[in-house]
């Protein structure tokens, strides 16, 4: 197979104009390319293309030659047909010379002809579809059309004969419908259905299955099973309007497509994986306009493009987007649970480390060799629930019992900011927020307790990563920490079962880190974290609610030099110790786990940044209470957090405003007192006065005395309604009628009466 080894070659076809379509001859040795101002035939050589015929030699500006589509007769290698933009169908005979080459022209279509296709067995018959909504059938022995099908009022974009049922063809049109006709009974269509919500631009029959692929303006390729009634089998979502589709020979599930706009590449899709192309050819620099497989050879794809080139792509040169994709994914659920799924990697063979008890754990059995069938790969998914005791999450919490504002008010009332230690404050506040069903806040308080509750940690400066192994260590530690508090959602037995299943399938302890942790947890074995597949790479992504899980880098992870491995084991053993410590004490005091100083490497991730991000996020989602309270509670430790002063000041104002709106004056005052911003502190001094207005002229009463209106120079408005004297102390009044007087007098009066002494207003109501 010399063709297999051939590589991608290209040829620039002309300077002006580009090709609109490409067609492969019967014996796959030649291609025809047609465009607005070109119609050429090239023979395909091993290392390139050779122009064998130029059918547009002259400089004739005849619109009849400006082709939209070109097709090669499937029975005769010398016959070509083109569809022109003015609706003319031309038949060319390559065996003739000069002007004779143009055998026939049919100018029957009123509008642009989009497609032309030959009958697969009867060489004299061909069909053409046009913008005027007609499909015409021509017989080469005849100078006029044999029959015309008025399919739709919309343009017919593509016509293809079914390879399985002779004489049956499918036509797709701009209004999104697919129609099937039998050319012997063309009066009535066999089947008609709406396939897409936009115009359909192309279709292709599967060479062996009774499948029809349609590509549309709605950016989808749909595969229809055409047995009896059309039923949708697969849908592929592409990024751009689909221009052409072509099934890959010999591969049942693969189809090539190119876009009409935006995307220059040719993609080969496996229809069972509709979201990512199986392979892509990215050589073209402009929109690809025509694609064809070289006969029955699935390894060679030819394409032509608006960049005026033709390419012969070797399939081995295609880029495989799936190989660069990240096969793990993790996400937090709304209740704080973590869902993690990953590919159960078919590991390459790995050198066995010697002289260590860990080696037995590290050793893997050589598994199935990798194949290009991605769908064989197994994947595993874990749903992890945060352990209720360590976080705010509690399944039986009467969540939803409290309204959002109730929770806010309750927390505002019960939060404390000063206690003996920060840990106590955090713990108490976490309980409070948990009580009110505010899990996020509760978790945050717990986090704060973990990070800042212990002095050792807070004093430590985060150290930047120094080497790869360093990072690996850190990742491992990070991974281990949250996992300690995680628990399989359903039950332990369930987890155990699933792990065992994995175990028996592989015949070795071949899990990725997370599953192994669980495994060991359940079976009470010491945890050893020697594999860093799927590390949590970047905690900053927490902000978006996602955990970024870094790409597989198995080769690096497994080809580590002996020293590094050794080093890793030591690090791992540290963990082991820590873990046992932790299990022994079995306390809530998770802080002990975080006594990182005993480990030579210091975490590279920056907890301060993470916390700051968390607080920002919390504020962004509309809860300013939690970040502000945490900030206040942190005291001096707040300086570690990389949050700018303006933001905090803004939080202060927002929270105080919120408290005052809920009439929580005491809490607001406390916050003002605790603040360290001048502008916030001043709130207590300014705007403490209540301004009064004169009842007569409605002007604000200024000046030192509150009872004299400087504008109308009377004291009428400040007279007591009972004793008619000017009130010079406390003045109470009814907000309904505006009358009032000495507190003493009013009190006495209203013990006996219920109406206003002056106007009879029902003040007591």
């Amino acid at each position: 197979m010399t063709e297999l080894s051939s590589s991608t070659v290209s040829l620039r076809i002309c300077q002006e104009g580009h090709a609109n379509a490409l067609s492969m001859s019967k014996d796959s040795s030649q291609i025809a390319v047609a465009g607005r101002s070109l119609l050429k035939v090239y023979s395909i050589e091993h290392d390139g293309f050779i122009e064998s015929c130029n059918l547009r030699a002259g400089k004739s500006q005849n619109l009849s030659y400006s082709s939209n589509d070109v097709t090669w007769c499937p029975t005769d290698t010398n016959i070509l047909a083109t569809a022109a933009t003015n609706g003319v169908i031309s038949i060319w005979d390559l065996s003739k010379f000069g002007r004779q080459k143009q055998l026939l022209t049919y100018s029957e279509h009123e509008r642009t002809a989009h497609t032309v296709t030959f009958h697969p067995t009867e060489q004299a018959l061909l069909l053409s579809g046009s913008q005027d909504g007609t499909i015409k059938c021509f017989d080469l022995k005849n100078t006029n059309s044999v029959f015309t099908i008025y399919s739709n009022s919309e343009g017919v974009r593509d016509i293809k004969f079914s390879p399985l049922t002779t004489n049956v063809f499918a036509a797709v049109s701009e209004n999104g419908t697919v129609q099937m006709y039998d050319i012997r009974k063309y009066e009535k269509c066999l089947l008609q259905f709406t396939a897409h919500s936009g115009a359909i631009y192309c279709c292709d029959w599967h060479p062996v299955q009774n499948w029809l692929a349609t590509g549309s303006r709605d950016k989808q390729i749909k595969i229809w099973n055409m047995e009896n009634k059309a039923s949708l089998e697969y849908t592929i979502s592409t990024i751009a309007v689909v221009g052409r589709v072509k099934w890959r020979p010999e591969k049942i599930h693969q189809i090539a497509s190119c876009a009409l706009l935006v995307d220059n590449s040719v993609h080969v899709w496996d229809i069972r994986r509709p979201y990512m192309p199986y392979a892509s050819f990215n050589e073209h620099t402009n929109i690809t306009t025509g694609i064809a497989w070289k006969g029955n050879n699935p390894q060679i794809l030819l394409s032509t493009s608006k960049d005026s080139t033709i390419f012969k792509h070797a399939f081995k040169d295609a880029s495989k987007p799936s190989s660069r994709a990240n096969p793990q994914g993790a996400t937090f659920g709304p209740a704080g649970d973590l869902f993690f799924s990953m590919k159960l990697k078919l590991q390459p063979p790995q050198q066995t480390p010697r002289g260590s008890k860990v080696s037995s754990i590290l050793s893997r059995q050589k598994s199935v060799s990798t194949t290009d069938q991605f769908h064989i790969a197994q994947s595993a998914s874990f749903k992890l629930l945060l352990k209720p005791s360590a976080t705010g999450y509690n399944c039986e919490v009467k969540a939803g019992k409290y309204k959002e504002s109730d929770g806010m008010i309750g927390c505002a009332k019960e939060y404390i900011f000063r206690a003996k230690t920060l840990a106590e404050v955090c713990e108490y506040n976490s309980l409070v927020s948990k009580k009110y069903g505010r899990h996020t806040a509760s978790t945050l308080w717990n986090f704060i307790k973990l990070f800042y509750g212990s002095k050792e940690f807070t004093n430590r400066k985060p150290i930047q990563r120094t080497s790869f192994s360093n990072q690996k260590n850190n990742n491992r530690r990070i991974i281990s920490k949250p996992l300690k508090t995680l628990e399989k959602s359903e039950s332990k037995t369930d987890l155990n079962g699933s792990c065992k299943e994995v175990d028996s399938r592989r015949g070795s302890r071949d899990f990725d880190s997370i599953s192994r942790i669980y495994y060991s947890r359940v079976s009470n074995q010491p945890v050893i974290l020697e594999n860093s597949e799927g590390p949590f790479d970047d905690y900053r992504s927490l902000r978006d609610g996602f955990l970024y899980v870094g790409p597989h880098d198995v080769t690096t992870a497994l080809s580590l030099p002996e020293a590094t491995l050794h080093h890793d084991f030591q690090a791992a053993r540290h963990h082991e110790d820590m873990k046992t410590d932790h299990d022994d004490t079995l306390t809530q005091d998770v802080v002990s786990v975080l006594k990182v100083p005993i480990v030579p490497q210091v975490p590279m991730w920056e907890p301060h940044q993470v916390i700051a991000d968390c607080l920002h996020l919390q504020a962004d989602v509309g809860d300013v209470q939690t970040p502000l309270c945490i900030f206040v509670a942190l005291g001096q430790a707040r300086k570690e957090l990389p949050i700018d002063e303006e933001t905090v000041e803004f939080w202060f104002h927002a929270y105080i405003d919120l408290l005052q709106r809920y009439k929580l004056w005491n809490q607001a005052a406390e916050i003002i007192k605790l603040s360290w911003f001048q502008s916030v502190k001043e709130l207590n001094q300014q705007s403490t006065s209540v301004h009064t207005s004169c009842g007569k002229c409605n002007r604000q009463i200024l000046g030192n005395v509150g009872w004299l209106c400087s504008n109308c120079k009377t004291t009428d408005c400040s007279k007591c309604v009972v004793c008619s004297l000017v009130v010079k102390g406390l003045y109470v009044w009814c907000q309904g009628c505006g009358h009032g007087g000495h507190m003493q007098h009013i009190k006495e009066y209203f013990t006996k009466n219920s109406r206003c002494p002056k106007c009879g207003h029902c003040c007591e109501l």
Binding site: E16, G17, R36, S37, Q61, L63, S66, N68, T85, N86, G87, E110, R111, T112, H114, Q131, D132, G133, Y150, N152, S153, E154, R157, N175, G176, T177, K188, Q192, F193, T194, H196, S197, A199, Y201, R217, D218, V241, L260, L261
Partner: protein, 366 residues
């Protein structure tokens, strides 16, 4: 995005203007007003008929259509004076009754070119389909040449999947209903529309295009023009309504159509601010917008109500002289096409199509 506004640019030697009587409310035309193609807007009440009409032809903002009162009599809107394409739009009230003796179906369907039936996609459409069947049956009896268009309307409110689903369902049931009534030869066109995006303009463009007998010629002219000028896509717009009355043969992409619509708006808005003339859009208007993806939008006025908007790559715009020259040829050709139309309307029996293909003079420089 850099923007250059070349309004009122001098057009060089080719400055003679068009004959002003391209059928814009010219007095002889008023006489045969009844012979003008008619577009009927029908459908159940509250399905959005009047809104469509207001948004497309009266530049009403889609949000304002909420306050439109319901139509209680047939509103006849003449798109003659304001727009190049000549037709009447008759907006029917939803509750119209065909059995009513005052309903003159011969008069209504007789001179009708297209019937647009609007179906509310968010509503239960059983009733609408029954009414549709009755309407089509009735109309087809009177005038079998009517083009039937179904607008599945208000699709902005439903998801992509259900869009597809309702289109399929409506299509299936409408065709089934009609074949049950023995009318399987009727061709229906379906459009998914919404007044909140350009889909309604596109759908209306397609409806109007079917009523333009010169459409194949216009398309051919555009094809010649773009292939000789290195242009990717060209639309011939009706400036007032922003529906395109013709485009070249390459597939219409929604985004480029929207861009072109917006460009017309920009050009008109800017020229009404800075222009010294009274008319915002006249025969010297042209505008050029360079997009940052090395694409150029080029607008040229064809005549008072028509504009040509082209999308082309920046490198092809180097030969602006060629494009301009080709454009003038194109404009002449269009002028000849419509002169023929005027002549044809004067002498009704003259065959338009025969003489058309000779008239475009596609001389091209390279």
């Amino acid at each position: 995005m850099s923007y250059q506004d070349d309004d009122e640019e001098q057009m060089g030697p080719h400055s003679e203007s068009f004959p002003k009587d391209f059928g814009y409310g010219h007095s002889p035309r008023e006489a045969n007003l009844e012979s003008k193609p008619r577009i009927l807007l029908m459908g159940l009440r509250r399905s959005g008929k009047s809104s469509i009409q207001k948004v497309v032809f009266h530049k009403m903002s889609p949000n304002e259509t909420l306050f439109l009162p319901s139509t209680c009599e047939i509103v006849k809107d003449d798109i003659n004076n304001s727009s190049f394409v000549q037709f009447q739009i008759w907006d029917f009230p939803g509750q119209i009754d065909f059995i009513d003796p005052t309903f003159d179906s011969d008069m209504i369907f007789g001179g009708c070119g297209a019937l647009i039936f609007v179906i509310d996609a968010k509503d239960d459409y059983n009733e609408a389909l029954t009414k549709f069947k009755n309407t089509v049956t009735k109309a087809y009896k009177v005038n079998p040449r009517i083009k039937f268009e179904v607008f599945i309307h208000k699709v902005d409110g439903i998801s992509d999947d259900s869009k597809m689903e309702s289109q399929r369902d409506i299509h299936q049931r409408a065709t089934d209903d009609l074949s049950d009534a023995g009318l399987h030869q009727i061709r229906l066109s379906f459009h998914l529309t919404s007044i909140y995006d350009h889909s309604i303009f596109e759908a209306f463009s397609k409806v109007v295009q079917k009523l333009i007998p010169q459409l194949p010629t216009l398309e051919n002219l555009l094809n010649i023009f773009i292939s000789n000028s290195g242009i990717e896509k060209a639309f011939l717009f009706d400036v007032v309504s922003k529906i395109y009355i013709a485009t070249d043969c390459s597939p219409v992409d929604m985004q480029s159509y929207e861009l072109c619509c917006d460009m017309i708006d920009v050009a008109i808005d800017l020229s009404s601010i800075y222009s010294t003339e009274e008319e915002a859009f006249d025969n010297k208007t042209s505008s050029l917008i360079k997009l940052n993806n090395s694409t150029v939008l080029y607008l040229r006025e064809v005549n008072k109500f028509l504009a040509l908007v082209c999308i082309l790559r920046e490198e092809n715009f180097n030969k602006q002289g060629v494009i301009d020259y080709n454009f003038l040829c194109f404009r002449d050709a269009i002028g000849q096409v419509f002169e023929l139309k005027i002549r044809a309307t004067k002498h009704m029996d003259e065959d338009i199509e025969v003489s058309l293909m000779e008239s475009p003079n596609d001389s091209v420089v390279f």
